[in-house]
Amino acid sequence: MWRRILVVFIKEAVDNARDRRSLLVALIYPLMGPILLGLLVSAIVDVVTVQPKQKLVLPVSGMEHAPGLVSFLREHGVQVIAAPADPEKSVRDGEHEGILIIPAGYARQFSAEQPATLHVVVNSSRLPGLIAVNQILGVLGAFNQETWTERISARGVDLKVLQPLEIKHINVAAGKHIAEFLLFMVPPLFIFNLFMGGVYLAMDTTSGERERGSLEPLLVNPVARWGLMFGKYLAALLYTAVAVAVQLIAFALIFKLVETPELSFTSAMSPIVIIGILVTTLPLMMVAVGVQVIIATLTLSYKEAQTYLGLLPLVPAIPGMVMVFAPVHAQGWMMTIPIFSQTLLLGQFVRGEPIAMTNVLMSMSVSGLIAAGLLLVAARLYEREKLIFGN
């Protein structure tokens, strides 16, 4: 029997390798998620992590009113240039991200030790504008502090009295947070792809076979019906596994491509992690193919199967999509829920978090049991007389 199951498996795998749609779904569709995420990452990397490293170029209007401030800025690594004639228009048009205007009254107020007014023109609706505000206010704040330090110590007051809080800035690399957020998007893309990979094969080998009229002659061969079903099932499982592997490798390559020192994904997709994910999610692949075969067997026609199975991958991806915005802490009981457990474990894998072996085993065995149940149902459906007529 196993030899004949192998014959069916090989036939379906070869037959569908000649089908452009099956190949598209198994080899090309899986690349979409990684490419999308890669574009997103590189766009964000440009804005957030690269620009602060660049020297702040700050156009200043009325430099002559505050030579002390200007030289302070220069000392602190700001490239001070002359401001354009219309600072507000220039910022609005995006020529400059921020402009400092020193009014004529500044010098008088400053030397009289009155609060001296400065204007900072920025456009906070743009992300680079926000970053510029941060940088400009930072350096102006430093000047503020230096000035008051001088003035206070000139009056003989101990500085510590005036500093109830000493706030030390611990800068957690901004890139790490962003990387983690982006990694949360991997599970829904992965689950969607997992439920998509074998879909055309499942339809072609079941409803397609019936519609072509090739099912009836096939059933006459001396192979138990469950054996025929199982050969087709294994072929769909192979295509699913290929799609999943292609996507994981694409993620690994694209993360490597967009990686910067600030935004590191190195731990996310090492070969070990990829193998771990493949093993952990294999039972879910079996569940996915089981559902596909059952739907394809129950539906009347190829078109009907296509309608249901086209929607199918979206549903399991929902928990992962929600978790992008509302992360869930993985707990033992969650491992009994297929799809959900894999979404959680996958998140832990790609974020490089420690993974509890008991969680993996629990997830795998529950999904494995469900997959076995689905296989039994599919085998029973293949035994029905209705199989050759449609439902």
Partner: protein, 242 residues
């Protein structure tokens, strides 16, 4: 050798077979004839194991089609009602697939494919993919894959339906050759001339009931009609209305 006893089969309220009984001996072409919807295909489908009878038995070489399905399946070659091909497989791959499902392998299988391709004159398209095959080519592939394991019993549902004269002749020739080699052949058709031309025994079926069976002269004697067409119409009760 095929034997059918008291076969009943209903689909919802439609009685497809009503206590049908007949036999088809080895070395004999048995033609089942009847109007559309008479139960021909249902009878064949029970014989080739894709349908189960509600009651009654059907045996192939003594094996029961329900309880000994695999034994029956390895003793029959079938061109069923549905005879679709896989558009992305070549003619040879179709025959090879079914050969392997019957446990044939290697050079013995390839030689058998070549032999069938020779008999059915398939050499011109044997390596071509089935997409775009003509009706005749499809029929030849369907026949070849049904015969790849050289079965003792051959079941054909409307084997020449839609074929041109030359192709029909070729199929008839093949059926007669198989008969001469001692095979048991059962085919159904609604074309009376075809049944009359090649059948050794004729089974007339109407509304699920076997109206008569025997050789052509026996049926003519039974009804007193001069030709097979009148025999058929008289047996199915349509002589008056015709």
């Amino acid at each position: 050798m095929i034997e059918v006893r008291g076969l009943n089969k209903s689909f919802r309220s439609v009685r497809a077979l009503d206590n049908a009984a007949f036999e088809a001996p080895d070395g004999c072409i048995t033609g089942i004839i009847g109007p559309n919807g008479a139960g021909k295909t249902t009878a064949l489908r029970i014989l080739y194991t894709v349908l189960r009878p509600d009651s009654g038995t059907a045996t192939v070489d003594g094996f029961d089609t329900v309880t000994q399905r695999a034994d029956v399946q390895s003793r029959i070659g079938v061109v069923p009602d549905g005879r679709g091909l896989y558009p992305r497989l070549t003619a040879r791959e179709h025959i090879r697939y079914f050969g392997r499902l019957h446990g044939l392998v290697g050079s013995a299988l390839e030689e058998r494919i070549d032999e069938l391709a020779g008999i059915l004159r398939m050499s011109e398209f044997i390596e071509r993919r089935a997409k775009g095959f003509s009706k005749g080519q499809v029929r030849k592939v369907a026949l070849a894959r049904a015969l790849v394991h050289d079965p003792q019993n051959i079941l054909l549902d409307e084997p020449t339906n839609g074929l041109d004269v030359a192709s029909s002749r070729a199929v008839h020739g093949l059926i007669q050759t198989l008969r001469d080699r001692g095979r048991c052949i059962v085919f159904c058709s609604h074309i009376m001339q075809e049944v009359a031309a090649i059948s050794d025994r004729i089974i007339v079926i109407s509304e699920g009931r076997i109206m008569a069976q025997g050789t052509q002269p026996e049926l003519q004697d039974l009804t007193g009609e001069p030709d097979i067409e009148s025999v058929f119409l008289s047996l199915t009760g349509e002589l008056e209305s015709a």
